[in-house]
Structure formats: C-alpha cells, structure tokens
Amino acid sequence: MRLACVFVPQLALQSVLRREPESRGFAVALFDNADSSARHAAPQSPRARVIAATEEARRGGVRIGMTGAQAGAACPTLRKVCATPADVATAQAALGDLGFAFAPRIDTGGIAQGRIFFEIGDLERLYPQGEAAIAQAIQARAARLGLGVRVAIASSKGLARVATRARELAVVPHGGARARAFLAHLPVAVLEEQPSDVGTALKRWGIATVGALAMLPAAEVALRLGTAGARVHRLSTGIDDEPFVPQLPADALEEETELDYAIYEIEPLSFVLRGLIDRALARLACRSLACAGITLRLKLDPRGLDVREILIAAPTREAATLLELVRLDLARRPPDAGVVGATLIALPARVRSTQLDFLRPAGPAPDRLAATLARLAALVGPENVGAPQAPDTWREEAIAVAPYSVTGAPRTPESAARSALAVRRFRPAQEIEVLMGRDGPTALRGTETTARVLIAAGPYRLRGEWWRPPEEDGDFARDYWDVHASDGAVYRLHQDSRSGRWFLDGYYD
C-alpha cells in the first residue's frame, strides 16, 4: 500500500491567507490571539507574539516570538493578522476535501496539525508518469483551494510524514533497503514533529543523520531514551506500524467567516458571501460534486442567529447563480440586525447530465430557470410560484402549489381531455344575495354581479370532511347550482346548508 501525506505548514497562517488571498505575496505575520472572539485585525495586545510568518516577512526580519511592536519595527510593511477557530476549521475541511479529490476515503487523524493521508494505489492509472506526477498534481490542486502544501508518498504513514518535513515534494522508494537509503542522509530532526529530549540527547551523542541513528542498536537506544527513543529509532530504520484509518467525507460542507464589524446592507454582505460560495464550490469541485442547496446561518449583532434555507432547482456549480439566489432571499427577507458572521453549508449532489430527448424540445437551462424561479418568488412570494395541485378533497375551491421541477415528470402519452369547459374561480368565493323561486334561484345580487337567473341547474348536494370540526374548515355541506344569468354568464354558486348563506364560486368560461 502506498500512501500520500499532504501537510499544510503554518496551517493557521494559511487559513487566513485563504480567506484573504489579496495578502499573498506580502509580508504577513500571524499573532496569537487569546481572545478567540475577536476578529483578525491588527492585534492590539502588547503581549501578542508572532507565531507564524510568510517568507516575505521572514526576509524582512520578522521572527517567531516577536511582539507586534518588534515585528513592526523590523518590517514596516508587515500585515498583522490573527486566525479565528472558524478560519482554521474551514482550512482543515478544505484540506480534507483535497484528499477526497484523489481518494474516496482519507485518514484525518492528523488534520489538527494540518496533515492528512490517503491511499494512491488507483491513481497510477490516471498518472502513468509516476508517483512524482501524482505529488505534483496534489500540490497543484491544493493551490486552487488556496493552500500551499508539502506532499510525500511512501509505504507507511510515518515515512511519508518524515518525508514531508524533509522536502516539499518527496517520493520514498518501495522496499525497506531503498527507504532506508532515502532516509539515511536526512537530518535526525525530521523524525520528530517538535524538538524533544530525544533530539537533544541524539545531538549530544553526535548523531546528526537518520542513517547514523539507524546504525545504533535498538535495545540500547530504547534503554537510554525510553519509548519515544525506541519509536524514533524504528522510524529511522524504515519501520512504521502506525495504522491507516480511513474515513468517509461528511455529508455537508461548511464555510464560515467572521466580520470585523456589523454589516447592514445587502451589497457588502453579498461580497462576503461570494467569497464563501467560491470556496465552497472549489471544495465541491474536488469531489466532482455540485451544490444542491444552501443553508445560510447569519450571526447577528449583538446576538441571535438568522438561519435560512435556500432551495436550488437543480444542482449547480455556478457561483453567480448561487449568489443571485442568496441575494434574492436576502432582499425578500432582510436580516433583522447587522450581520457579524456567516456560515454557509452547502449540500453536495452529483451533477447528472440531462440527456435531451430526441423528440422533445429542450426546455429552459436549469441554472437560468432556478434563478428565474427565485426572482419570481422574490417578486410575488414563494407561495405564488410553482406547479398547481388539486388536493385530495371534495372541496371544489381547494388548491395547493407544489415546487416546480426543472425536469418534471417523464413525458407521458398525451392524455385526452375529459372536459373542455373550464371554470374561473373567485378566490375567495364572493358572498351574494339570491332570490329563490319554486324551481331554484331567480335572481342574484352581489358586489360586482347583479342579474336575473334565466336557467338554473341544480341543486347538487355536496358534503364532506365530517371528521374535522367546522372551526378547522371541516364538515361542510353545500348545495351547488349552475345558473345562466341575464348578463350572459353561466355562474356556479352554492348555498351553505347550515348557515343558509350564498356564495358565488365562479363562472364557466
């Protein structure tokens, strides 16, 4: 089994640069921030110290452990940032998605330290040039996600981990002897994550390379340096028993950000949300998936959450479409207060190519239709847009609206019309006065309609929903009439059997 180890050095700093890509290429220093709720502005506390810095900042004289004042004095153009837990979490999630772009399951045991592992066995068919090409492809994909990574491929997790510390792109050869030969000339410090007593002891003994450590007797090393020393010695000989624990990807994908100050307008908020959408779609693309729905959680100022579900008619990878749907939803129902943070949860789905029917015209493009439906919903309300439905009830006026599907039901053979005569319904039914004769209504008078009845057909008695109480619109009993009125129209009206009131339901047209 060949494993790839992908390591993100200075994960916290990279998480900030991922959120602020415009800072790449500049001198940037990451400061520790004891107050995790504070936003990543220039650290105000004099006790804040540099915990990571870009190459440009190092060249400018910034060193780990400097205070803000020291770092600013060393490098006047330095940008000082802090990382929030949300930044680190989303960067870790992006790292996981990077792994899922190449393997169905990954080992995320070291993701807190910015490291993942995955098997590359099947990738050799996609990259016949060899494992070096695979490592380069992983690094290139990581760059698209906004992460700079070190990649190593080896036969065990430990060896791959060591190799990432040694080189930016490394391939540890197969076989124990060849792996030992690869490790032999590396400095012994690469065997450990952090400097420890073992490294200090080895330095005191004059052991500078991994090869020199491997030549020492294992029992003597364990006797003098304990369990940690024994583990390091085994690693130096190319032996590693750490298991590979694969995991499946999570169902949903989250991108989160916190803002420096509350935003009240939709336009600047849209700019922030666009960044979340872009990053989410980039991560979905790693898994060859599209976005089928969005849950947006807006953190309000001073407290509260605004949670909204944004349905998408068809899975899409278009950031512009998603942003438009989000903007329309915000315009239709603006947040009650200023927004100080946002979490976007994207529901992944496969994009299924719709094969056009040879005999059926191509309909509207799903992306454009989704945006149009959202615009219509924003214009008239979501309850007024959709496919009409006739609910399962004997109430003639009942109607429901179902979501309109892009694909719709499969084309069925044309159903013959059973009746051509349509009814136009008044919603709600208009209460009228009716003059009754011996054979039925003889005249009707309402707010908009007053006429004599020329011919009356009825009554048609209808009663139903006796199991529901009247106060819940249940248990109705009506007598329906079709009348030809003197104004030329053919009306349908009914009398409520209990109250005796008359209502004009509509007219045949």
């Binding site: 005999l359 214009l379 008239v380 496919a387 009409p388 009746s419 051509a420 005569l421 919603r427 007219y507």
Partner: protein, 230 residues
C-alpha cells in the same frame, strides 16, 4: 415509407413531417382545437404576442387551457401568469393539462407583466400565457413593446388573455370569442352540457382578408369530443 414506418415506434412516426410543413410547425404553437388552428394557420405564432379575448362565459379560459395542454403535450416548457388567481386545477387537469409540468405564477397588476417578462427572458419556454383576469388597469404601450421583443428573441409564443383587446397592433394574432350561449340538457331537470360560442380572428399576420375568419364552437362539459366545430 410504410414498410419503414412499421419498424419505428408510433411516437417517432407521429413526429415525422414533410419538409414543407416543418417550417410551419416550428413557427406555430397549436391551440389544441383544430378549428381555431385552421383559423390561425397552425396555431399561435411563435416569437410573437397573441391576444385571446372574450367576456364571461365566452370560452376564453377553455381555449387558454386547451392551448396550455397542447403545448405541454408537445413537450414544451409552459407557464401561466394568473393575475386573478382564478385557475381551477381540477378543470385544468380535466382539460388535459399535466399540472405537475405547468409553471403557475399568481401575480396581479404590474407584477404580472414583470413576471411574464422574467419568464420569457429565461428562455426555453414554448408558451407563456398571461391571463389578465377581470379588471384590467391601463397598461402602457412600452410594456407590450418589451414583451414583443422578448418573445421575438426567445421564439416564445405569448398569449395575452383578457376580456377585451388591449395589446393592439403589437399582437401578431388576435382571437375574439363572442358571447357564449349555454346549452342545457333538457330531458329532466336541466344539466349544463356545453357552451356554444364563436371564435373570430380579428388580426392575423398571415392573412390579408378583409372579412375576419370565423368558426363556431361548442365547448362541452362531458367526455367524448370536448370540442366540436359547427
């Protein structure tokens, strides 16, 4: 041809047309009523506005639903903008409209025009119908110009249904349904059986006839032949 046709599905055979008729079919959206299709030379023109006018109980809504059913039956994406929200889903289903494939938008006044504009601009709709309902506020000509150009760009057939003509010269076709006469079965207690009406072509881009073409229709409320030309 007959031997070859046996090898194909009946549906495929039904779609085969001669080259001469293909251009006409592509340019029209059938109404679903043969008599009115003959008046219009195949149906509602694509890429243009058409008017469907008629007072109460003239059969206007029935013709509109038949057009929606025909468009959906042909596989076109179809939308109805209902200004008064007067659609009866049971009646539409009985008229052959597959409800789950019809996009229904309830919008009144200027929102109805805006919704129609959005639907046409989306592209891909074979037919967009705007039912303006009973009370029609004054609509500026600029709105019809905009809809007309949008329909031309997207090759969408647009039907404007109203009690009276309002689109004017911007409509390529106009059908006026005269006042209907209800027909009751008189064997025993009366039962509404049908409405007899007449469809008059007030405007048609293809004909230059001085006398408007006309056909009488019976709109039935029962099974069998729902539409009958007399």
């Amino acid at each position: 041809m007959s031997r070859a046709a046996h090898k194909f599905e009946p549906e495929l055979v039904a779609q085969l047309v001669t080259a001469e008729r293909l251009a006409d079919r592509q340019g029209c959206c059938p109404t679903g009523i043969d008599a009115i299709d003959r008046l219009l030379g195949g149906g509602w023109p694509r890429g243009a506005l058409s008017e469907l006018c008629g007072r109460r109980s003239s059969g206007r809504t029935s013709v509109l639903l038949a057009s929606l059913a025909a468009s959906l039956g042909a596989g076109h994406a179809t939308a109805l903008v209902d200004a008064d929200g007067m659609l009866d889903p049971r009646g539409a289903a009985a008229a052959g409209v597959p409800l789950d494939r019809l996009l229904w938008v309830r919008a009144g006044g200027r929102q109805a025009l805006r919704a129609t504009d959005l639907l046409i601009a989306a592209g891909g709709f074979g037919l967009v119908a705007l039912d303006l309902g009973e009370d029609i506020a004054r609509i500026p000509s600029a709105a019809w110009v905009r809809l007309k150009h949008a329909a031309e760009r997207q090759r969408t057939a647009v039907i404007i249904a109203a009690p009276r003509r309002i689109v004017g010269a911007f409509a390529a076709s106009a059908i006026d349904l005269l006042a209907g006469r209800p027909l009751f079965d008189g064997a025993g207690p009366p039962l509404l059986a049908a409405i007899q009406t007449a469809a008059l072509v007030r405007r048609h881009r293809r004909t230059n006839d001085v006398a408007p073409a006309r056909t009488n229709l019976i709109v039935k409320a029962d099974r069998g032949r729902p539409w009958e030309a007399i």
